[in-house]
């Protein structure tokens, strides 16, 4: 018949398990390709997410309005103000004459950052080696505030560096880790690993568990169980199509990152792929585990959404720094597979570090994969309950 067409004879010679496995996978691809909307979402989602995080929701701050209170008015303060103005991040919008104006300009809402210089600024640098400078931002948005102060600090310390070198005096610089590896402060650099961690988990865990739950809901699982097909094959052949889609998505993400967003793959490409494959297997194992527990598509969706997606977004360090969170949340973060994956991808892709930098993560992810696979195989039901 049409299903096998020309290759039918060859297929008939195969062991029965193999034939069942192949036709099952074929059926899965029919399900996916005939559901045009889901298919489109699966393939376009990574692109959309990358663009969204890379450009729209970026914490990159440009053209922030700056106010300055400068009682010193000397050549050091002027030089710093000029430097601040000279880049994209800040626009000097007001020179304050009274300290009590500071609160007022924040209330008016235009100003993102106020810089307050100490008195006799230049003199202090030259004589005591210590000058006072205060950076004031709106703390209601801590992420932006941190970013703004980081930018400003970076600019100020670069000035300090100039002064100290020209005067040939020993100096100290406190390096900022975040800036060191992302000197242009591009948001995309931080989000690419995050999006990878999210998309792969979404496709593998969520879609696999939903598609198995659908068989249960439709009643087809009953027929499949009452058939010679080995139950474990039913489950494994469900995972194959989503494995393929994940590989497609991984490729799309890497291509977009490198060629459109300009995020380099600084480290080992081989280890990046190996790491991602392990993470994909891990996500598939999680999907199988969820599908072993639930019977309906809705619950599969909720569990994979609540238990997998939300923690990835909030606790994996992809959007919010985990270091500032309460201890409880930090512990949860430690057991999130995505957190380990994202850290390792950052090390490989952006920091350009070698294999030795991701050994911990690699071991952790492999361990988790074996753990989840073991539970889901143990939990897998050969009957309806």
């Amino acid at each position: 018949m049409k299903f096998f067409s020309a290759s039918q004879e060859k297929l008939r010679e195969m062991p029965i398990d193999m034939r069942q496995f192949l036709i099952f996978i074929k059926k899965e691809f029919y399900h996916i390709t005939r559901d045009k909307w889901t298919m489109a979402v699966l393939l376009l989602l990574p692109i959309l997410m990358l663009l969204l995080f890379g450009y729209a929701i970026t914490t990159e701050v440009k053209n922030t309005r700056l106010a300055v209170y400068d009682p010193s008015h000397d050549k050091a303060t002027e030089a710093i103000i000029n430097k601040l103005q000279a880049n994209d991040y800040f626009i000097l919008s007001q020179i304050l004459t009274e300290p009590n104006e500071i609160e007022k300009v924040f209330q008016e809402g235009d100003i993102g950052l106020v810089i307050v210089f100490g008195e006799r600024f230049y003199e202090n640098i030259m004589h005591t080696g210590e000058a006072q400078i205060q950076l004031i931002t709106d703390g209601t948005d801590p992420n932006t505030a941190t970013t703004l102060t980081n930018y400003a600090m970076n600019i100020i310390s670069s000035y300090r560096l100039e002064i100290l070198t020209t005067n040939n005096i020993p100096f100290q610089i406190v390096p900022n880790i975040k800036l060191l590896y992302n000197p242009q402060m591009k948001g995309a650099f931080n989000f690419v690993p995050g999006v990878m961690g999210m998309i792969l988990m979404l496709i593998c865990a969520m879609m696999t568990s939903i598609s198995i739950a659908r068989e249960k809901e439709m009643g087809t699982m009953e027929i499949l169980l009452v058939s010679p097909m080995k139950p474990i094959f039913i489950i494994l052949s469900k995972a194959v199509p989503y494995f393929v889609i994940s590989i497609v998505n991984l490729t799309t993400i890497l291509l977009i990152s490198v060629f459109i967003m300009g995020v380099p793959i600084a480290g080992s490409f081989f280890w990046l792929i190996t790491l991602s494959l392990i993470y994909i297997f891990l996500s598939l194992a999680l999907g199988l585990l969820i599908s072993a527990i639930v019977d309906s598509q809705l619950i599969a969706l909720l569990i994979s959404g609540m238990a997998l997606m939300i923690p990835i977004i909030f606790l994996s360090g992809m959007m919010f720094p985990v270091e500032n969170m309460p201890i409880g949340l930090r512990i949860i973060s430690e057991i999130l597979p995505a957190k380990w994956y994202i850290v390792a991808v950052k090390n490989l892709m952006i920091k350009g570090l070698g294999f030795s930098s991701i050994i911990n993560e690699l071991l952790m992810l492999s361990g988790m994969t074996i753990f989840f696979l073991a539970i889901s195989l143990k939990k897998f039901k050969i009957r309806l309950e």
Binding site: M1, F3, Q20, I23, K27, Y30, T220, L224
Partner: protein
């Protein structure tokens, strides 16, 4: 060897007892009907016998294999059509059939003679997605899929529910042919009038078997006097009959009402007079033989 043998199967879901110590046997090549309304425990019984559920107590064999120990053997041999339509709606008729043929390690050609009669009706629509078939056609496709590997025992859970009378008749004709091929069939239905198509039936209600016998014997064992009545005002007739002290039960049965009488010394003529007094016209009363539905209602009351 019996096709199916069930010994004191008991199963509950929390407080609800779905099956209470059920025992029965199905002979080789027999059509055995489980007749009863929704919620009587039919589906639970089917799932236990097809190895999908475990009974809390009792034992059962299908085709000589134990439903717990030899579940793999059973899964290789039997055909099962669950109650709700359970094929892939986004696959075509032919793709569905081919998929199940391969899963059951066979091809459509190999056992085509078994499904030929039904599949001929489906053939004009073979490239149509299953979702676009009518209820009757879907059931025919599901039957084909459960037959494609020539099972020794066929389990059909409510194959005719929601199916129109014509398609229902066709499905039953099909089952008769399968029986001739030596396939044993366990079939459930809520339609009492289908009971006579079975060799033997079990009437089931609230997890209990009320009776197991041939349809003929069950009908013959009906031990009440049964009359069928009609008049020009059928709804009033129903109420008038219910209020008569000597009438034990009265139910509407299509174009007539069926009543059972509590004493022997109540004559057809007495009833005629009573109804005339109530103002009924065109009164027709005749003693009749019970149907399975009459028996079911007598057994459940």
């Amino acid at each position: 060897m019996k096709a199916i043998s069930v010994n004191n199967i008991y199963r509950n879901y929390g407080d609800v007892e779905a099956l209470i110590d059920i025992s029965f046997e199905v002979e080789q090549g027999e059509i055995f009907g489980i007749i009863g309304p929704d919620g009587a425990g039919k589906t639970t019984l089917f799932r236990i016998l097809t190895t999908l559920l475990l009974a809390d107590k009792g034992s059962a064999t299908v085709d000589g294999c134990d439903v717990i120990k030899d579940f793999k053997l059973i899964r290789n041999r039997v055909g099962y059509m669950p109650g709700r339509f359970s094929l892939y709606l986004d696959l075509t008729v032919e793709e569905n059939l081919n998929f199940f043929a391969t899963v059951f390690n066979t091809t459509i050609e190999e056992n085509y003679y078994l499904i030929e009669d039904i599949y001929k009706q489906l053939e004009p629509f073979k490239d149509r997605r299953a979702s676009a078939l009518s209820g009757g056609m879907k059931q025919k496709l599901a039957l084909c899929c459960s037959l494609i590997h020539k099972p020794t025992v066929l389990f059909l859970d409510e194959p005719t529910t929601g199916v129109d009378p014509v398609s229902r008749k066709e499905l039953w004709e099909m089952l008769k042919k399968l029986k001739q091929q030596g396939i044993s069939i366990l079939v459930s239905t809520p339609y009492m009038d289908e009971a006579e198509m079975c060799d033997r039936i079990a009437l089931i209600q609230n997890g209990n078997f009320l009776k197991i016998d041939t349809p003929k014997n069950i009908v013959n064992q009906f031990d009440n006097i049964l009359w069928a009545l009609s008049s020009n005002r059928m709804y009033d007739l129903l109420n008038d009959l219910r209020n008569h002290p000597k009438i034990k039960s009265c139910y509407a049965f299509g174009d007539s009402h069926h009543i059972t009488i509590s004493t022997d010394n109540f004559l057809l003529n007495d009833l005629n007079i009573f109804l005339n007094e109530k103002g009924h016209k065109d009164i027709e009363i005749s003693p009749i033989k019970a149907s399975i539905e009459d028996c079911f209602m007598q057994l459940t009351n």
